[in-house]
């Protein structure tokens, strides 16, 4: 049976729910968002990821209606929403600070938006109860925001923003104030709720792990521009530039000049007097072009003996070991004092490890393990 994969962005006939067309936003002489074009589809869980000041929050505030673009168009379901004030948009936002009304209890906070929509009393009560149940807050309905925990407040904020069943829910760093363990649980909860309600979510975060966990697609932003928009796995496995490779996860970057050795095969000359590295790439490069080979630490194999039949091998010396329990990251010094990182699962007890500080080791990887990126 053919399983249909949720990927409306690959379907040229699919109509986007949100369309940014050449949107620019300037604050004085600072350009927060630069000529940006982006489509977001219905039912997506879309993450805007980037360092602080990259324009991701401005994008979100433009969707909510708190900022108007300096130029360009923003469409929601085919309608230009730029002239629509925030209170008239079918868009709700969950604020980073949660912005719960301190003078209202949990129940009234959730009912706030419904009351503004003049919902009949019974329907309103049913809807609030439904939201309380969805976010497991039934027991706290009569409490004031300052009488509940941070995690509960976060769920109230979520329930309140979902209560009006918006076409689009915006989440501004929704887990920024939670501790790590709670954050991980909440991420899965959020995905469940997104699936149950079928609402389109746009989340703003600077936490790449969070973006990778929850999102169907991730947009990596920097200085007001979109650097790459793709699924988490594509962003991780096939970053389109060094910035993305470096921003998402850990990566080794090896600089060198390429020489073609086949239709998709290149030899990378990376250090004088060392055998060139072999790498495959769909993207064509010119002879002697300067490139970067980006390769993830976990795709590098580390061994005490020279490995047989590996496409790429570098000899080095263990410079440092970061022991993380389940895995260890080895910092290996290779030719020219360069440090490469390799990760290995700690399948054996630590005292049985084959190599330790200052031991000679071999790093090896397949030709298709890394990506070649333009310098």
């Amino acid at each position: 049976m053919l399983q249909t994969v949720f990927a409306p962005w690959d379907d040229p006939t699919a109509k986007p729910l949100i369309r940014f067309s050449n949107v620019t936003k300037q604050f004085g002489d600072f350009t927060a968002v630069r000529n940006l074009t982006l489509d977001i589809y219905e039912h997506e869980f879309f993450a805007l990821l980037g360092p602080s000041g990259c324009g991701k929050t401005t994008m979100m505030r433009m969707l909510a209606g708190f900022e108007d673009p300096s130029s360009g168009q923003i469409e929601l379901a085919g309608q230009d929403i730029v002239p629509v004030p925030p209170n008239k948009r079918a868009v709700n936002m969950m604020f980073q600070s949660y912005a719960l009304f301190p003078h209202l209890n949990v129940w009234d906070n959730i009912a706030f938006g419904l009351r503004r929509a003049a919902m009949p009393k019974d329907a309103l009560r049913a809807r609030v109860e439904e939201m309380l149940k969805l976010t497991r807050l039934e027991r706290f309905a009569r409490r004031k925001p300052h009488q509940i925990s941070g995690g509960q407040r976060q769920r109230v904020a979520l329930a309140r923003s979902l209560a009006k069943a918006p076409r689009l829910l915006l989440l501004d760093e929704p887990m920024g104030a939670l501790d790590k363990k709670l954050r991980q649980d909440t991420q899965f909860e959020l995905m469940d709720i997104q699936e149950k309600t079928g609402t389109t979510f746009v989340i703003v975060t600077h936490d790449q792990e969070e973006a990778m966990t929850v999102a169907s697609r991730v947009a990596v932003m920097d200085e007001g521009e979109l650097i790459q928009v793709a699924t988490p796995s594509a962003i991780y496995e096939a970053p389109n530039c060094v910035y993305v490779a470096d921003f998402i996860g850990d990566v080794n970057i090896i600089e060198g000049a390429v020489h073609p050795c086949g239709p998709t095969c290149y030899k990378l000359h990376w250090a004088e007097g060392f055998a060139p590295l072999v790498a495959s790439s769909e993207q064509p490069f010119a002879t002697a072009q300067k490139v970067f080979l980006a390769i993830r630490p976990e795709k590098m194999h580390i061994s005490a003996e020279p490995p047989a039949g590996a496409e790429n091998t570098i000899q080095g010396r263990v410079h440092d070991i970061a022991y993380l329990g389940n895995i260890s990251t080895y910092h290996v010094e290779v030719a020219g004092g360069r440090i490469l990182k390799a990760q290995a699962a700690n399948t054996r007890r630590i005292e049985n490890r084959g190599f330790t500080w200052d031991d000679q080791v071999w790093l090896s990887w397949a030709a298709n393990a890394g990506v070649l990126l333009e310098a």
């Binding site: 209606g65 209170n87 936002m93 912005a99 938006g113």
Partner: protein
């Protein structure tokens, strides 16, 4: 032991500076007026003993307050003037506090300074200068006549309007400061959240800003209402004979009639009236502190 002493200090303060003087005033209010020095009887003497002294005290002066309608009219008029000027001060002070809280950070200290600045000049001098502004040949009339807004000078001084102007002018910082303190803490994302959930600007103001500045409003209103109720200087300098306020009556009893016992009775009743708003004010402050902790 040390803790007990520390805890006792405010009570000793209250005892020495409020309860003892109040007891003295209460005692005078229960005495009879006399041509003596001090001008009332009985005087306590150890020879006659406490019982004989107490037996001479009576509530005659309080009964007297009910027989002459001047007094209850003055109380009522004071309450009305205090309530009206509190409302006026709120209506003028709230927008000022709101604007202050919304100005960029670097201007706020200056604005705050401007609100407090009048306190650097004596209260009496400021009230006197209002006489210069409001009198028939005063600056205001000269300005309005000069601009051609009016052809006859307005009669402002010695009217209720002048009293209201004086009270609002004098007490507005007490309204602005607590409201500003409440609004200044207000997180702007709450307003955005209200708008996001379907409120217009005005509705968000009513449903979020006003309730969240409630404690400031209540504190400001009490800080204006309580001193205004017993206000004496402003009505006697700016108000005419038509402005009846209990503070003025009290002063006249003391200094014109030299009837200390009746004047003390007026003061005791004033304190009793003020106890209610003062207790309410304390409760409000306490609630606010609890909400913040």
């Amino acid at each position: 032991m040390k803790r007990v002493v520390v805890a006792l200090i405010p009570y000793l303060w209250l005892l020495g500076l409020f309860l003892v003087p109040f007891a003295i005033v209460l005692k005078i209010s229960l005495s009879d007026v006399a041509m003596a020095r001090p001008p009332y009887l009985p005087q306590f003497s150890w020879n006659e003993g406490i019982g004989a002294f107490l037996s001479q005290l009576d509530f005659e002066n309080f009964t007297f307050l009910t027989t002459d309608d001047l007094y209850w009219k003055a109380y009522l008029s004071s309450l009305k003037i205090a309530a009206t000027s509190t409302l006026l001060t709120l209506l003028i002070g709230y927008p000022i506090a709101y604007a202050m809280a919304r100005t960029p950070e670097q201007w706020r200290a200056t604005l705050m300074m401007l609100v407090i600045l009048p306190f650097w000049t004596s209260f009496l001098i400021r009230v006197y200068s209002w006489m210069g502004i409001l009198s028939q040949e005063g600056y205001l009339n000269q300005l309005l006549l000069g601009l051609g807004v009016i052809s006859e000078p307005l009669i402002l001084l010695n009217t209720k309007i002048a009293v209201y102007i004086g009270i609002v002018y004098t007490y507005i910082p007490f309204m602005i400061l607590p409201i500003y303190a409440a609004l200044h803490r207000l997180d702007n994302s709450l307003i955005e959240a209200a708008e996001d959930l379907g409120c217009s600007r005005a509705k968000a103001f009513w449903l979020v800003t006003v309730p969240l500045s409630r404690n400031g409003i209540v504190a400001g209103c009490f800080l204006v209402f309580i001193p205004t109720l017993g206000e004496f200087v402003i009505p006697s300098l700016l108000g005419g004979s038509g402005t009846l306020m209990i503070g003025k009556v009290l002063w006249e009893e003391f200094f014109n009639n030299r009837d200390w016992p009746v004047a003390s009775a007026v003061a005791v009743v004033l304190v009793l009236i003020l106890i209610i708003p003062i207790v309410l004010f304390q409760q409000n402050q306490q609630k606010q502190q609890e909400a913040e902790s």
